[in-house]
Amino acid sequence: MSMLRLDQIIMAAIIAAMMVVPMMSASEESLNLVSLILIWGLFAVGFDLIFGMAGMLSFGHAAMFGTGGYALALLAPQFGFLPALLVAALAGAMLAFLLSVFALRVSGLFFSLLTLALAQLIYILASTKLRAFTGGLDGIPGVPRPVMFGVDFYNNRNFFYFLIAVFVIGVAIMAVLRVSPFGNALKAVQANDVRAEQIGYNVQRLRQCAFMISGAYAGVSGALLASLMFYVSPQMLHWSTSGDVLIMTLLGGKGTLLGPVLGVAVFEVLKEELSQFTQHWYGILGIVFILCTIFLPNGIAGLFAVLGRIGKGASK
């Protein structure tokens, strides 16, 4: 239990730090970096609901992420930003539902492979046959940001605060979900799906619900990324995007609320900082991954947990 509290405290500290950073410093570069972390963090937090909690490895989350981006790009000019953002969430959930209808027919590794194949099919369609809507591989530039309540969110700082608001709401909802009976049921499904079904859980429906919620998170974060960048392209739908969110979640520590965000932050900061010091950052990142796999079996969050336990032991 104290583990949970410790995590939450660090989490709160990080979010607070994110809010303080732009106030302290005038740098728009760091603003941009933290904005990215918030968006990908939200994506990863949603991803971990199925990956860390329910034990389902989706390799097709890029599909929902990109679809959210396209939904916003296509709908925001007509219907306004917030409605479009809502539709992005719904689109993510609906697409997740659709994928799950196919993918949940199989389990384990085959579920992962099927989500990968389906998402990649969507990628190919979006970049070729659907180019009339998606702009093909060129994507759609000029994705809007909101101007509402008299605030111009084209200003990066204002948009940053908007992102924080969405992020905090998203994480708060997820925090409740994870400790709710629903979240516990997902954990039960991961721990032992045969038993979970036997004591009366509708395992497939639980998986489907979790997948849809996770899809909604992906949709929203994809929409926010499109808006941050003023741009959306099929790259967001590509399997390597699914790979990225998986890698970040693993790096941070799956199965924790905090881990995925930490993973995203470390990944992005590392990429940013390394690429400024050396042109070989790419390889260094690879070495970091390898070392993390070998020496940090539970990700960075696992490291925190260990430190927390040592701290607790010492203070007793």
């Binding site: 709710s180 009976p181 721990a191 032992n192 079904e197 036997q198 004591i199 509708n202 395992v203």
Partner: protein, 252 residues
């Protein structure tokens, strides 16, 4: 839960085939409410497969399962549980990574809520806590409430298995070797426990320990090569030469 006598579980010509092998080869039999049935038979006789067929873990090639007058043959596992069929497993399937109480609460949530609440922390549900704690005491694991389930001894894990099944308040309870791994010194106690907690429910129980089976069961059903060989009171079964030949071995 039906307390009156009457048929609570009925098998109609159940057939389970894996490829060419008939693991359960046409079993028909009714089980009366409130009685404990011991299901015995040599290894590979199809006892566990029969249990799987009843609980929905094995697909029937033919036949029907009727629970309290309702045909549940087509129902999924969780729907059967909701219909009042509980079971424990031969190979322990408790939720590892969680405490004993958390295990029980999971079962309580599954029983008490059709749609799992997602809007507030699980800790705030007093009703769930109460039913979980009640069963916790019943199965005698009160002292271990906050121990991680995977650290329990074999026997205690078995008890937890039964507890999980119990939380769905089943009218029919299938127990697959609930006493395996229970130490000698605690065996009597464990038998007593089972008798007590299943009171009023129909129980079908697989157990290899003959003494235990004879002691605990109202009626014994003997299964050999996928079929029912005999049934009767423990005394009748002990005396049945066919059973002795098939199962107990006749060279003693």
């Amino acid at each position: 839960m039906s307390m009156s006598t009457g048929i609570s579980l009925q098998c109609e010509n159940i057939l389970v085939a894996f490829g060419g092998l008939k693991a359960v080869a046409g079993v028909s039999r009714s089980f009366e409410s409130g009685r404990i049935y011991g299901l015995i038979g040599p290894n590979g006789a199809g006892k566990t497969t029969l249990m799987n067929a009843l609980s929905g873990h094995a697909t029937l090639s033919a036949g029907k399962v009727i629970l309290n007058g309702r045909d549940i043959t087509k129902l999924s596992v969780h729907a059967r549980t909701r219909a009042g069929l509980g079971r424990s497993f031969q190979i322990t399937k408790v939720f590892s990574g969680m405490t004993v109480l958390e295990n029980l609460k999971l079962a309580a949530f599954a029983h008490l809520y059709r749609v799992q609440p997602f809007w507030m922390p699980a800790g705030r549900f007093a009703d769930v806590r109460q039913s979980a704690e009640k069963v916790l005491e019943q199965i005698g694991l009160g002292r271990l409430a906050h121990a991680p389930a995977e650290n329990l001894s074999h026997g205690d894990q078995r008890a937890l298995e039964v507890g999980l099944a119990l939380l769905s308040d089943p009218s029919v309870l299938l127990l697959d070797e609930p006493l395996a791994g229970v130490g000698h010194e605690r065996l009597e106690q464990a038998i007593e426990l089972i008798r007590r907690i299943v009171a009023g429910r129909t129980v079908l129980l697989i157990e290899h320990n003959m003494d235990v089976v004879m002691q605990i069961s109202d009626e014994i059903v003997v299964m050999v090569q996928g079929q029912l060989l005999a049934s009767g009171s423990p005394a009748e079964i002990k005396a049945n030469p066919a059973v002795r030949a098939a199962y107990l071995g006749n060279d003693e």
